[in-house]
Symmetry: C2
Subunit: 331 residues, 2 copies
């Protein structure tokens, strides 16, 4: 009613008209905008990794979880035992089993009959029994993080959850439970070993220059990088059926210019080798195993035209776990 009243006011009719017109335009625009907003689709794209913890749906977000890659040869009993443990590890996204039992059927039927399982498990059938099969850039790999485990190694869920959190703080490093080192000798020839070798001589205590990938987290990008290694690296690994882990440490050290690994001291790590019925014991029992690894270090130095490995003496443990006594001072 005021509307008509305003219309008739003499002397201000022009101004009022303009005001009315402008008001109408504004109101119409607001209504249109409101309508559009209501029509917008809900932004909920499942392919976008969420940045914060979402309520648990089918699978964990690719940023907050990792993929377990486990290569297996002639120890299916151990594999299945370990899978029961590893399939339930927190933050696990998927398991990729690299099946090096050439010509042998994967236990898919049995696996499915014992479902449901906490996460998808993919069996990748291989055509040749190669140590470096586990270093392929598997298309099933969706996460940034890879956890690689040997098929005879049992690491507790606590250790894995902690090491994963450490990896997230050091994503360009191999974060794992088994440290090793190289030392140089006056002749220039390198040797590979562990605590039994002399310390490299940088201050007191020991140093490590590698973290073995048979029990470690690393960035999936390094599997991509590994596909671009010189042929000589593949030839070396195939010739020895060994040293893929040393090669990975060379790759990472070269890439970062820093020590390749970060050692996390495990609270509970076990080797289940003795428990297998297959009678098969791991490659590291071969007489020439350690000599081979020294040989690999020197070959890789040739291929890389230099020694990229660097030393570290940082050992990481979990504060106050298993109990607070692990950090109490004698103060």
């Amino acid at each position: 009613m005021r509307y008509f009243h305003f219309c008739k006011l003499p002397g201000r009719v022009m101004g009022i008209r303009l005001l009315r017109f402008t008001s109408v335009v504004i109101i119409v625009l607001l209504l249109v905008a409101g309508a559009l907003t209501a029509l917008l689709p809900n932004i909920k794209d499942d392919k976008m990794p969420s940045l914060r913890r979402e309520p648990k749906s089918q699978s964990q977000s690719a940023l907050d979880s990792f993929t377990l890659i486990m290569q297996t040869y002639n120890r299916t009993d151990l594999l299945l035992k370990l899978l029961n443990h590893y399939q339930a590890i927190p933050y696990l996204h998927k398991v990729i089993v690299v099946w090096n039992n050439i010509g042998e059927k994967i236990p898919e039927e049995m696996w499915n009959s014992l479902g449901p399982h906490p996460v998808p498990v993919v069996f990748k059938v291989q055509t040749v029994n190669r140590m470096r099969n586990r270093l392929q850039n598997f298309p099933e790999l969706e996460t940034k993080a890879v956890l690689m485990m040997d098929d005879d190694t049992l690491v507790s869920a606590h250790d894995l959850a902690f090491a994963f959190s450490v990896w997230q703080q050091f994503p360009e490093h191999i974060v794992g439970f088994v440290p090793r080192k190289h030392i140089s000798t006056p002749s220039g020839v390198y040797s590979y070993g562990s605590f039994e070798l002399q310390n490299p001589g940088f201050g007191n205590g020991d140093q490590y220059s590698m973290v073995l990938i048979g029990a470690a987290f690393f960035h999936s990008g390094y599997l991509e990088d590994f596909q671009r290694q010189p042929e000589a690296v593949y030839a070396l690994i195939d010739e020895t059926q060994n040293c893929d882990d040393i090669a990975m440490n060379f790759l990472v050290a070269k890439h970062t210019g820093k020590p390749s690994g970060v050692f996390v001291k495990p609270v509970d790590i076990r080797n289940l080798e003795k428990d297998t019925n297959s009678g098969y014991s791991g490659m590291w029992h071969r007489a020439e195993h350690l000599l081979q690894r020294s040989y690999c270090v020197n070959k890789l130095v040739n291929i890389y035209d230099g020694m990229p490995l660097k030393y570290s003496n940082i050992m990481i443990s979990q504060f106050g776990f298993p109990n607070y006594a692990n950090h109490k001072n004698k103060m």
Copy 2:
């Protein structure tokens, strides 16, 4: 002689003259330049920190060494005992003693009579006995790294050398030997404490959110930053004669957006309080000490308008020190 010969050649006299003239000019210029270069002073400015290790001259390079800042009150016997130990720590550049014994003469005569000493020791006489005196931006401070020690705390040289190397890898953090934490309660009021408090509840094990500066390395830049804190922070520290270390942790956490500290587990750390003849025991024996620190946490949250402290559960130890058994697996 060829000179005169050229002069007399007919038909090319003009061109030759120009060539001769140009040559003379060039030669003269070169001679002048050579003379000037010989006259340039030797670039050896002692005030410029060198970038790499120089042969040990008077002092260690400012990048590869640290300054010890030790505040002292009423425990000169302990101070002198500790100085004998700390003055010989590797990578130490200089010692700054913050003399809170107001009106009392510094032991300079005695100190000098017992020289020479491995590094310069500067006694900074204070006018008021304040806890935060040690957090001044001392002009004598030349290094990027500061080691701050309480005047009753003895940390072994091994621990210090290792923690310094850790600080160099985490220069924006407070790297030290004494972890503490805050917890929040349903009422929103924070509490301060150590292992005796409940865990903050992020997975298993404990967490820490502060590393005390009474036994820690940190970047000297933070002393600069501390001069720009709100007045309320100084008032709080002066009111309680406490909490300067909590305030520093708030500062660092706010600055980095990450946990302020990195905890290095000491092998050998001792409190020498009992050994003093002065009969004076540290502030932390006061009945209200811990309550005061909870009070400080809440006051600082008000001043900072939020809680910047973050949790960490990373505990760092030195690989293979004191002996290699500290990293052997039960594998």
